[in-house]
């Protein structure tokens, strides 16, 4: 069956541009997470959705970052006025139940590598 997919796989943006990163979770998965992985580091939590509700956005680094999941399936992470420090791999993960991390593994997509020049 299909896993988590993300698009685009690679994105190069000029500083100041807006970007939109897409995540297609596994069908039927309730929980959806976004993580940011800087070079040489582990993923860091950005935000969490349970169906269409964004229950936690405490990891978003600034108000330039915005995420949505309007119909409870596909999610989009938008970064406005990109800066060089936004360069990273953005990972999406989904989990079948509401307690996505508590005892339930998360299924990760391949990530989108964002490079801001």
């Amino acid at each position: 069956g299909a896993g988590v997919s993300q698009s685009p796989r690679y994105k190069v943006a000029k500083r100041g541009q807006d970007v939109a990163l897409r995540c297609d979770p596994i069908s039927g998965h309730v929980s959806l997470f976004w993580y940011q992985q800087a070079l040489g580091q582990g993923p860091e939590f950005l935000t969490y959705f349970q169906n269409e509700a964004q229950l936690d956005k405490s990891g978003l680094p600034s108000d330039r970052f915005f995420a949505e999941r309007p119909e409870g399936s596909v999610s989009t992470l938008k970064i406005q006025r990109t800066q060089q420090e936004d360069s990273a791999v953005y990972l999406c993960a989904s989990s079948p139940r509401t307690s996505g991390g508590l005892g339930n593994e998360q299924f990760f997509g391949p990530g989108t590598r964002l490079t801001v020049l």
Binding site: F45, S95, G111
Partner: protein
């Protein structure tokens, strides 16, 4: 706050030898512990998890991990390493935090298995 430490950036082991990748954690309450593996240009793949019960957890590809509460450790092990095991390994912990069930990851350990 929860945290994970992977003290070794790099582990090298000869093929056929046992391997250990170390992980220690800090969390309030009962921990839920995970190991993920990351191959180049691919997403993280789940290996195994500890929730409760037996301290020795067996997972995919012959990997296992031992939960040690007194040492707050969750080291990843394999009795006989394969060249194909070479990859980046991440330990992660989760606990209830607000309304999220986020994973907190370590910084990763690059495992290289030498033929």
């Amino acid at each position: 706050a929860q945290s994970v430490a992977q003290p070794e950036d790099q582990v090298n082991v000869a093929e056929g030898n046992p391997l250990t990748v170390k992980c220690t954690y800090s969390v309030s309450g009962n921990p839920y512990l995970f190991w993920y593996v990351q191959y180049p240009n691919r997403g993280l793949q789940f290996l195994l998890k500890y929730i409760t019960g037996d301290n020795l957890v067996k997972g995919s590809y012959g990997f296992e991990a031992e939960f040690n509460k007194s040492q707050t450790s969750f080291h990843l092990k394999k009795p006989s390493a394969l060249v194909s095991d070479s990859a980046l390994y991440f330990c992660a912990v989760s606990a209830l935090s607000g309304s999220a069930r986020q994973l907190t990851f370590g910084s990763g350990t690059q495992l290289t298995v030498l033929p």
